[in-house]
């Protein structure tokens, strides 16, 4: 098996007395979709924030493409190819769809400190941005101001921004949240396509989507990783059923 | 340089500190509860001073003046809150800054219109004239000492109010979660007006008391307002305890800096340049203190991360 792209070891984070992440170790291998599931409050979002550098861990390490990154800032990690999408759509509301995606290109290419002129006229960069706009089926909305987008369109813009970074690893925080059956199908297809380009750590509540997409599943409960395994292993794991899937069936 | 002289300066620093606390406490409460930055807080201080001076000279009673200063500022605060400020709670800070800047223009020029441009002078009441001899042979102004005592008493009262009364519970609830206190059935409108008037009254009281030490004039509020901002940045926004510690720190640093810096530079400079270098640097001291706090604790000494 190939070396993991992303390797998290014994990661711990506490807020006061609350242990939000408790000695979590997991990895992400090339070409795979690794789903992270768990009940609300299990610490999934905290884990994502630790990995991308929005929060600093108390102890443990994060290795990305063979290099420790846990001491680096979020922007530096992003430039190295660690991309994320947000659970609640986080976009630039007054910019156009194209500009939103273009910023991702500009940011990861380190072209922000160009003061005179812009790279929108740069064929390579704008092609990169418009490719992702098209791919997220937002081509017709490219010139629209982002605040005018529907909820589903915003979710896709989120993913397009992450993809425009040409990530080496992608962290998607509940990309399917609230998009409905049709939206979920579209996004599922998109993620299948993406997996060849970049492995995905997928946090998702929609179990059908998880079982359809994931190569491996990790279960997080109360900040602890209770189990990691293939789809069928997790489905049949008694502890997981009790700890998590049981609630879902209710 | 005698111990007595230093003790006097320490008392002066304490006096400036408690005055700043009366200003900063109102500002920080108003920000904590309503999320509003009020540049016009210095105008309320000025209103307190003018009302005190006006009534004291009309009636001959300092005490009536003091009462008038406090109530005029509180009333002005309530009126401004009802007429203008409450439209600003849901606006961004930029709108709040501009609107309260406009209020300063209205208050300052309005006061000049009514009272003229010449400064007024307030005389302290007879019982507080002269000096007292404190233990250790320190001779100190009776009036300034009274200000320190009164300021500390008000500070104590404010802590009791916030810590022990129903109003205090609601204020603290409002600082944590604005929706929650509405859900508790508290009339937010009245609470906000009360908090604003309370802050205004404290500023007015400070203005009325200081009016007997300095001259009462238009524009007297803004230097104090800016000092109060420094206090809040140091203490941490929204924290009354932080405002108290910050006030005493700033009052002490400013007063002692102005006293000690020229003395210090005088040890290796000629007196006149020691005076100018010393006082120029002393005028920057509290801002450097603020800068140091920002480097080591950007949220302020008593502030919470993310506030």
């Amino acid at each position: 098996m190939a070396e993991p792209i992303l390797r998290i070891y014994n990661l711990t984070k506490s807020f006061g007395a609350l242990l939000a992440t408790d000695g979590v170790s997991l990895d992400l291998k090339p070409g795979e979709i690794h789903a992270l599931i768990g009940p609300n409050g299990a610490g999934k979002s905290t884990l994502v924030k630790l990995i991308v550098g929005e929060l600093r861990q108390n102890s443990g390490s994060i290795e990305f493409r063979g290099v420790r990154v846990d001491g680096l800032g979020a922007a530096e990690r992003a430039r190295r190819g660690l991309a994320r999408s947000f659970q609640v759509s986080s976009i630039f509301p007054e910019l156009t769809v194209f500009e939103n995606v273009f910023l991702a290109v500009q940011g990861t290419r380190g072209r922000t400190y160009r003061f005179f002129g812009n790279d929108i006229s740069n064929a390579e960069f704008s092609h990169l941005a418009s490719t992702q706009v098209e791919r997220a089926k937002l081509g017709a909305r490219s010139a629209a101001v982002a605040s005018e987008l529907s909820h589903g369109e915003r979710r896709r813009l989120e993913v397009a921004m992450a993809l425009a970074m040409r990530p080496k690893a992608l962290l998607l925080d509940e990309p399917m949240a609230g998009v409905g059956a049709e939206g979920t199908r579209e996004l599922t297809n998109l993620l299948k396509e993406i997996r060849a380009e970049s492995p995905i750590l997928l946090i998702e509540h929609d179990m059908d989507a998880v079982f359809a997409l994931a190569d491996r599943i990790s279960v997080l409960v109360n900040g602890r990783l209770v189990s990691t395994g293939s789809v069928s292993e997790i489905r049949n794991n008694e502890d997981v059923r009790k700890a998590y899937l049981g609630y879902e069936d209710d | 340089m005698s111990i007595v002289l230093i003790a006097e300066q320490i008392l002066n620093g304490l006096q400036l500190g408690v005055m700043l606390f009366l200003m900063a406490a109102g500002l920080t409460l108003i920000f904590g509860v309503m999320g509003l930055i009020n540049l016009a807080h210095g105008s309320l201080y000025m209103i307190g001073a003018f009302a005190c001076a006006g009534i004291a000279s009309a009636t001959g009673s300092f005490w009536l003046g003091l009462l008038a200063g406090l109530s005029a500022a509180a009333a002005a605060g309530a009126i401004v809150e009802l007429a203008v400020i409450r439209r600003l709670y849901n606006r961004d800070h930029l709108d709040q800054v501009l609107a309260t800047f406009a209020l300063i223009l209205v208050f300052s020029e309005g006061t000049r219109w009514v009272f003229g441009s010449f400064p007024l002078y307030l005389t302290p009441p007879e019982v507080l004239e002269g000096t007292v001899t404190l233990p250790g042979g320190i001779i100190y102004s009776r009036f300034r000492l009274a200000i320190i005592v009164a300021g500390l008493a008000v500070a104590g009262g404010l802590f009791l109010l916030i810590g022990k009364t129903l109003l205090g519970v609601r204020i603290r609830a409002g600082e944590c979660d604005r929706e929650m206190i509405a859900a508790l059935g508290v009339n937010i409108g009245i609470l906000y007006t009360l908090v604003f008037a309370l802050g205004a009254g404290l500023a007015g009281l400070a203005g009325a008391m200081v009016g007997s030490i300095q001259s009462v004039q238009v524009g007297m509020g803004e230097p104090v307002l800016i000092l109060a901002f420094v206090v809040i940045v140091i203490g941490g926004i929204g924290s009354v305890a932080g405002a108290f510690v910050g006030s005493i720190l700033v009052g002490m640093a400013d007063t002692l800096g102005r006293f000690l810096f020229p003395v210090f530079f005088g040890t290796f400079m000629d007196p006149s340049s020691a005076m100018s270098v010393g006082s120029a640097l002393a005028s920057m001291l509290i801002y450097l203190l603020m800068a140091a706090v920002l480097v080591f604790r950007p949220q302020g000494l008593f502030g919470h991360v993310g506030a």
Partner: protein, 326 residues
């Protein structure tokens, strides 16, 4: 920018250029001085508009850069006149009355100060940032008041207006044209920067700073750069203002000045290219016309500003464009 806004901008620029020149031609040179003042104060506000309008950085301390630009001009000119060196060590630096050199120094001093103040104040956001920028500007104000070498509280006269090669700067028309040209250059810089990669990221940082980090752009560094550029432009305005009045005083550093610069920006329309020009022109116009009616004109100005904040959001340019749309 819409074609309509562009048209409005060209109209404003032409008015500012033509009206005072025509007035001067017809023997009313007073309006020329007024227009020069508008142009220079507009530059100061263009500087603030860069940080505030594009980056959302509510600096209430831009008088610091304005005043430092002014003092740079005043101090250099005074040393040129009395022949004493400003610095004797490590190298001798004397004064100058050569405008371009003065502008360069003013811009550099303002930029350096903005860098230092920005390093500290940009660690915070929101209300903290407003209070801290105000406090640091006030620190410089008190320093200028209590430092006697350059006039202290009384200010510093600039006895002879500084020179510009090929021009007679004493001629009000020529000095106005210099100021107008400086305004156009600073507007051009604003416009070019706004449309650059940097400008896109800066506008994005105002809308959603956290997201920008996740795209690989450090917000602190971005804001600091914008803050420095902003301070530098305002510093240039300060140098010109010193030459206009032939006088520099701590008043240029006061919080009231900071407030006025901010009022220009908001009155005209935050983030609009010509917002500062419209705002400064309206403010000076009000100051003149209300000033004739009452000594206490600031009361009415204050009430008017209150109405603008409460009811006419988007400033003058925003309101005019909306009216025409509707």
């Amino acid at each position: 920018m819409s074609a309509r806004e562009r048209g409005l901008n060209i109209g404003l620029a032409s008015l500012l250029l033509v009206v005072p020149l025509a007035a001067a031609y017809f023997g009313e040179p007073y309006y020329l001085t007024l227009a020069t003042r508008i142009a220079i104060l507009s530059i100061a506000a263009v500087g603030l508009n860069f940080a505030l309008g594009l980056g959302g950085l509510v600096s209430f301390g831009h008088a610091a850069y304005f005043g430092l630009g002014g003092y740079a001009a005043g101090i250099l000119a005074n040393h040129a006149l009395n022949g004493q060196a400003i610095l004797a060590w490590p190298m001798e630096i004397g004064g100058t009355t050569f405008m371009p050199a003065i502008w360069l120094v003013a811009v550099l001093v303002a930029a350096l100060t903005a860098f230092l103040i920005g390093m500290l104040s940009l660690r915070t956001t929101g209300v903290y940032f407003i209070m801290i920028t105000l406090a640091f500007a006030q620190m410089l104000y008190y320093f200028a008041v209590s430092w006697p070498a350059y006039g202290g509280e009384d200010g510093l006269p600039v006895y002879v207006r500084n020179s510009f090669p090929g021009l007679n700067t004493f001629d009000p028309v020529q000095f106005f044209l210099i100021s107008f040209a400086a305004l156009m250059v600073s507007l051009a810089i604003f416009s070019v920067l706004r449309n650059s990669n940097f400008g896109l990221a800066l506008r994005a940082s105002r809308q959603n700073a956290g997201r920008l980090e996740s795209l690989g752009i450090e917000v602190f560094r971005l804001r600091l750069t914008a803050f420095v550029v902003s301070g530098a432009i305002t510093g240039l305005a300060g140098a010109l203002y010193a030459d206009l009045n032939r006088f520099v005083s701590p008043q240029m550093l006061s919080w009231h000045m900071s407030g006025e610069i901010m009022v220009f920006v908001i009155l005209g329309g935050v983030g609009r290219l010509f917002g500062p020009v419209a705002g400064a022109a309206l403010y000076i116009f009000l100051e003149q016309s209300l000033g004739e009616v009452s000594d206490y004109w600031q009361v009415f100005l204050g009430l008017l500003l209150l109405c603008v904040v409460l009811f006419a959001r988007g400033g003058l340019i925003g309101t005019v464009l909306d009216r025409r749309n509707g």
